[in-house]
C-alpha cells in the first residue's frame, strides 16, 4: 500500500495534467451527488419575464427560451448524465468481463461463441447500432443505458479475454488447482481480481465515450425527454437559437459535456500510467 502511494505520488508529480484530471473528476462527483442543493435556481422553474438573457451575475450562464437558469440546469444535469454513463459502463463491465474471462480461461467453444458475438457487434457502426437498439426496445432512458452497454461490450470482453488467457496457467492458478479449487472458483477468486487493474483503465477510457454516446442519443431526441435537464438535450434545444446569436444556451452544456469527457480520457491515461508504466506514450 505504501509502495502504491509512493508510486501514485510519483505519477502525479510526473504529469500535472493527471492531477487536473483527478481534481475535475472530484468536482464532477461532487456535482453529481450534491448538484440539486448547490444549484442557485430550480432547474425547471420558468420565468417569462427574463427569457434568453445573456450571462449576468444573477445568471452566470444566462437564461434559456423559457427563462430557466442555464447554470442551474448544467449543474443538475451532471447527475443524470453521469448516472446514465456509469450504469451503462458498469453493466458492460460486468457482462463483458464475465464473458471475456470465461472465453480466455476456458478457450474452446466458449471462446469461439464470445469472439463471434463481439465481432458481430463490432461489424456495426456502433452509434448506429445504438440507435437501432433504442428504436427496437422503446424510447426510454433505461434503453439508452442498455444500448450503450451493448455497444461497449466487445471492448471489455476483448480486454478481459486477452488478460485472462495470459493468466490461464499462471503459478497461482496452478497452486489453486492443486488445492482442489473448482475451475469456476479459480476464475472468480484468482483470475478475475488479477485482471481488474487493466479493466479499470478500460472503464475510465470508455466512460468518456459512453457519456458522448448517451449525449448524442439524447441530442437526436432519444431517451431523456424535455423538460429534464440533460446536457445533450440542452445543446439540442440551444441549437435552434445559435443561428440568431444566443450562444450561451448551447455553449455551456456543451462545454460541460466536453470537460467531463476530457476528464475521463485524461484520467484513463493517468490510470494506465499507474497500472502499467510500460505502456506510457
Amino acid at each position: 500500500m505504501v509502495r502504491f502511494l509512493t508510486h501514485f505520488r510519483y505519477v502525479m508529480g510526473e504529469n500535472p495534467v493527471t492531477v487536473v484530471a483527478f481534481s475535475l473528476f472530484a468536482l464532477i462527483v461532487f456535482l453529481a451527488l450534491f448538484g440539486p442543493w448547490i444549484a442557485p435556481y430550480d432547474p425547471l422553474a420558468t420565468d417569462a419575464a427574463s427569457t434568453l438573457k445573456p450571462p449576468t451575475w444573477a445568471h452566470p450562464f444566462g437564461t434559456d427560451h423559457l427563462g430557466r437558469d442555464v447554470f442551474s440546469r448544467v449543474i443538475v444535469a451532471t447527475r443524470l448524465d453521469m448516472g446514465i454513463a456509469l450504469s451503462a459502463v458498469l453493466l458492460s463491465f460486468a457482462i463483458g468481463s464475465a464473458l471475456g474471462c470465461s472465453a480466455g480461461f476456458w478457450g474452446g467453444w466458449t471462446d469461439r461463441v464470445v469472439g463471434r458475438l463481439s465481432d458481430t457487434i463490432m461489424a456495426f457502426p456502433l452509434f448506429v447500432l445504438a440507435m437501432g437498439i433504442v428504436a427496437a426496445m422503446g424510447n426510454t432512458v433505461e434503453n439508452i443505458i442498455y444500448a450503450t452497454a451493448i455497444i461497449n461490450l466487445p471492448f471489455y470482453a476483448r480486454v478481459a479475454r486477452a488478460e485472462a488467457a495470459v493468466r490461464r496457467n499462471a503459478g497461482y492458478v496452478s497452486a489453486a488447482r492443486l488445492c482442489g479449487s473448482s475451475e469456476t472458483r479459480i476464475l472468480a477468486t484468482q483470475v478475475f481480481p488479477n485482471i481488474l487493474p487493466p479493466m479499470m483503465v478500460q472503464v475510465s477510457l470508455n466512460m468518456g465515450w459512453a457519456i458522448l454516446n448517451a449525449a448524442g442519443l439524447s441530442f437526436i431526441g432519444l431517451g431523456v425527454r424535455p423538460p429534464a435537464a440533460e446536457w445533450g438535450i440542452m445543446v439540442a434545444e440551444g441549437a435552434t437559437y445559435i443561428v440568431s446569436g444566443e450562444w450561451w444556451l448551447a455553449l455551456f452544456p456543451g462545454a460541460a459535456l466536453m470537460l467531463a469527457v476530457f476528464c475521463f480520457n485524461l484520467m484513463g491515461d493517468g490510470l494506465r500510467d499507474l497500472v502499467d508504466p510500460l505502456r506510457r506514450t
Partner: protein, 340 residues
C-alpha cells in the same frame, strides 16, 4: 499474382460471417419490439384488417426460423419494407439520400487524412517540438469534442459572427437549382455540368459540416500516424537506411512512411465506423438531407422499417469499407498472407 488472387478470394469469403451476423442481429432487432410487431409496422393509424395484412406480409404468423428466411429472402430482393413517413419503399428512400451522406462523409474523411497524416508524420519526426505538442493537444481535444457541439460552434462563429458561411440548411442554397443527376454528389455533378456557380454554392454548404466531421476524424488518424511513424523510425531498417547515407526524403518517404501507412490504413476502418455514427449528428445540426436525417425523422415518428433499414444498410456499408481496406492492404503489402 496467383497467390494474391487466392488471398483476395479468401478475404471475400471472410466477409460472409459478418454479413450473416449483421442480418441476424437486424432480424432480432425488428422482432424484438415490445408488444406486437405487426401493430408497429402497420403504423399508428392502422385498423385491425391492415394489421392482419401486415402480419401475413411479414410472415409473423409463422415460426421464428421461417420468419428469418422470409426476412432474408426479402432483403435479397432489396425489400426493406415501406417507410410509414413517406409511403415509399425504404430502399428507395435510402438510395436517394445516400449520395448526400456519402459526399459529406468522404469529404470529411478526406480533409481529416490531408491534415492528420502530415501532422502525425511531422510530430513523429520532431518529438518534443511545437508540432508534437500541437498534435498531442489536438488528439486529446479531438476525442473529447462532441461532434454536434463542434458543428454548432462553427455555425456560430462562421455564420453568425463572421458571416462567411451560408445558412446551415441543407446541401444547396434555395437560390440554386440542383445540378443534373449523374452521381448524386452535387460537387461532382456541377463539375460535370460545368456549372461553376453551383459548384461554389455546393462547396460553401459542404464546408462547415465536412470540417466538423474532419475535426472528429482527425484525432484517431493523427494519433495512429504518429505512433506508427515513431515505431518505423525506431526500426532497424530505418537505421540501416540512414547509415547507408540515403537522403532524408528517401528515408522518411520510402522506408518509414510506407511501413507506417499500413497500420494507419487499418485504423481508417474503425474511423469510418465512428464517422457513420457522427454523420447522423452532423446531418441533424446542418439539416443535411442525408440518410442520417431520414433515420432521425423515422425514429421520432416510430417508423421502424425505416430505422432498421438504415441500421442494416449502414452496417453493410461498413462491412464493404472494411473489405475494401483489407483488399488494399493485401495488394500493397507483400507480407500479408505470407506464412512466417
Amino acid at each position: 499474382m496467383r497467390t494474391k488472387l487466392y488471398q483476395i478470394g479468401q478475404r471475400l469469403l471472410q466477409a460472409v460471417p459478418p454479413v450473416l451476423g449483421v442480418i441476424v442481429i437486424s432480424f432480432v432487432l425488428t422482432r424484438a419490439l415490445p408488444g406486437d410487431p405487426a401493430v408497429y409496422f402497420a403504423g399508428i393509424a392502422a385498423d385491425k384488417e391492415s394489421i392482419e395484412q401486415v402480419r401475413k406480409a411479414l410472415g409473423l404468423d409463422r415460426s421464428w426460423i421461417e420468419q428469418f428466411f422470409i426476412y432474408a429472402g426479402n432483403l435479397l430482393e432489396g425489400d426493406m419494407g415501406i417507410s410509414l413517413n413517406t409511403g415509399r419503399p425504404v430502399l428507395e428512400e435510402l438510395m436517394t439520400r445516400l449520395p448526400a451522406s456519402l459526399e459529406l462523409t468522404f469529404t470529411g474523411l478526406g480533409l481529416a487524412i490531408l491534415v492528420a497524416v502530415p501532422l502525425g508524420v511531422l510530430a513523429a519526426t520532431r518529438p518534443g517540438s511545437w508540432v508534437d505538442h500541437l498534435c498531442r493537444v489536438l488528439v486529446t481535444a479531438g476525442v473529447s469534442l462532441p461532434t454536434f457541439f463542434t458543428g454548432l460552434f462553427l455555425i456560430y462563429v462562421f455564420y453568425y459572427l463572421v458571416g462567411w458561411a451560408p445558412s446551415p440548411l441543407g446541401r444547396l442554397d434555395i437560390l440554386f437549382i440542383s445540378p443534373p443527376h449523374v452521381t448524386g454528389f452535387y460537387t461532382v455533378d456541377s463539375l460535370l455540368a460545368g456549372d461553376w456557380e453551383t459548384l461554389g454554392a455546393a462547396l460553401a454548404q459542404l464546408a462547415l459540416p465536412a470540417i466538423t466531421l474532419g475535426l472528429f476524424a482527425l484525432a484517431p488518424i493523427a494519433r495512429m500516424t504518429r505512433a506508427a511513424m515513431l515505431g518505423a523510425l525506431a526500426s532497424e531498417y530505418v537505421r540501416t537506411a540512414r547509415a547507408n547515407g540515403l537522403s532524408r526524403v528517401t528515408v522518411l518517404g520510402t522506408y518509414a512512411f510506407r511501413n507506417a501507412a499500413l497500420p494507419v490504413l487499418t485504423t481508417l476502418g474503425m474511423v469510418f465506423s465512428f464517422l457513420l455514427g457522427a454523420n447522423v449528428l452532423v446531418e441533424k445540426v446542418f439539416s443535411w438531407p442525408g440518410i442520417g436525417s431520414f433515420a432521425i425523422e423515422a425514429l421520432v415518428a416510430s417508423d421502424y422499417a425505416a430505422v432498421q433499414g438504415f441500421v442494416l444498410s449502414m452496417a453493410l456499408l461498413f462491412v464493404v469499407v472494411n473489405l475494401v481496406i483489407d483488399l488494399m492492404l493485401t495488394l500493397i503489402d507483400p507480407r500479408v498472407g505470407v506464412e512466417v
